[in-house]
């Protein structure tokens, strides 16, 4: 009975240690998923958000991108290299028409083609409510390239995948 108790305690200890390892030393894939969550948090907008909060969120968005970001939407023939310093203003103007906004990412598949480089494929779902009360919803498959810069994963390019080609 005492032996069984010891084994039980040892088992619990191993499980706790394993959880601690995962929490304290997340894998690169987990760090990338955290960046997606951070991006979603800062793009989201709650009703009555103050201009100060909007400004702070827009500034935080800049921190998850590399110095230059490539945006590519083949369906609209849009390819553009943007300096990350332009992103806060772009985010502010994109969020402005909405009273409420939320962004969620699903089904992330992450590959590491090279050291300090990752390719993440996700489905993004954007839901918004306009001041008129009209609901807007869009979802797109995104192909994102991230680079590890000074220990942090940052988005270097985002491509909208054309699932249906007219």
């Amino acid at each position: 009975m005492v032996v069984g108790k010891k084994w039980g305690i040892a088992g619990i200890g191993v499980v706790v240690a394993a959880i601690l390892v995962f929490v304290l030393w997340p894998s690169d894939a987990d760090r990338i998923k955290t960046q997606f969550e951070y991006l979603a948090e800062n793009i989201a907008k709650s009703p009555g958000e103050s201009p100060l909060t909007s400004g702070a969120k827009a500034k935080r968005i800049r921190t998850v991108f590399t110095d230059t970001v490539t945006l590519h939407a083949p369906a609209y023939g849009y390819v553009r290299d943007l300096p990350a310093s332009d992103l806060p203003a772009l985010a502010l103007s994109a969020r402005a028409p909405y009273r409420e906004l939320s962004l969620d990412f699903y089904d992330a598949t992450i590959a590491f083609p090279q050291k300090d480089q990752a390719d993440a494929r996700v489905t993004a779902r954007l839901r918004g409510r306009l001041p008129s009360g009209e609901n807007v919803e869009d979802f797109q498959e995104l192909n994102c390239r991230l680079h590890k810069v000074e220990g942090a994963w940052r988005f270097a390019s985002i491509e909208v995948v054309e699932v249906l080609q007219p």
């Binding site: 494929r121 919803e137 699932v163 249906l164």
Partner: protein, 164 residues
């Protein structure tokens, strides 16, 4: 009669009983994850055939051994299967698709579409469906062409079809 009733609702928690419960749960998880996946319809792309807020199951075995056929309603995956598009197959690989004044033409012949009501006057020049692709469109053509998601997609994106 009473003991049976009691045994059904208040069974003895034996090892065999726990095993049966686990087996039922495991079978249910496998069945509803890989065979019939429940989903909620959002949006109006397939109206009036499938309405916003409706509930259905995606039959993932439907195209395991066969290919989608014209008029089939199919589920198309995006990056994964959490969000899928529900569309109708209107043309198969190698065929030519066009819209003229809201009417669908496949291989230059007009197609009867009883599921489409009061279509907008879509005009799309003819285009050929690539090998290994299907051409899909929603049933709701009451909207301008540019706001409706449609087009050709690789067959491997088709994960099944609605159960009803």
């Amino acid at each position: 009669m009473k003991p049976l009733w009691n045994a059904f609702f208040f069974p003895q928690l034996t090892r065999a009983y726990a095993g049966r419960v686990l087996a039922v749960v495991a079978c249910a998880v496998i069945f509803f994850s890989f065979v019939l996946t429940p989903f909620r319809i959002r949006g109006h792309s397939m109206a009036p055939t499938y309405r916003d807020g409706g509930f259905n199951f995606c039959n993932k075995l439907r195209y395991r051994f066969t290919k989608p056929q014209k008029q089939d309603v199919v589920a198309i995956r995006l990056a994964g299967q959490s969000i899928v598009l529900l569309k109708r197959v209107v043309a198969l690989e190698g065929e030519t698709v066009a819209f003229r004044q809201g009417r669908l033409y496949v291989n230059h012949r007009a197609v009867e579409e009883p599921y489409v009501q009061s279509p907008f006057a879509w005009d799309l020049p003819p285009r050929q469906v690539a090998a290994g692709h299907v051409y899909v469109v929603g049933d709701n053509r009451r909207v301008p062409m540019h706001v409706h998601q449609f087009g050709q997609t690789p067959m491997d994106r088709v994960i099944g079809g609605p159960l009803w």
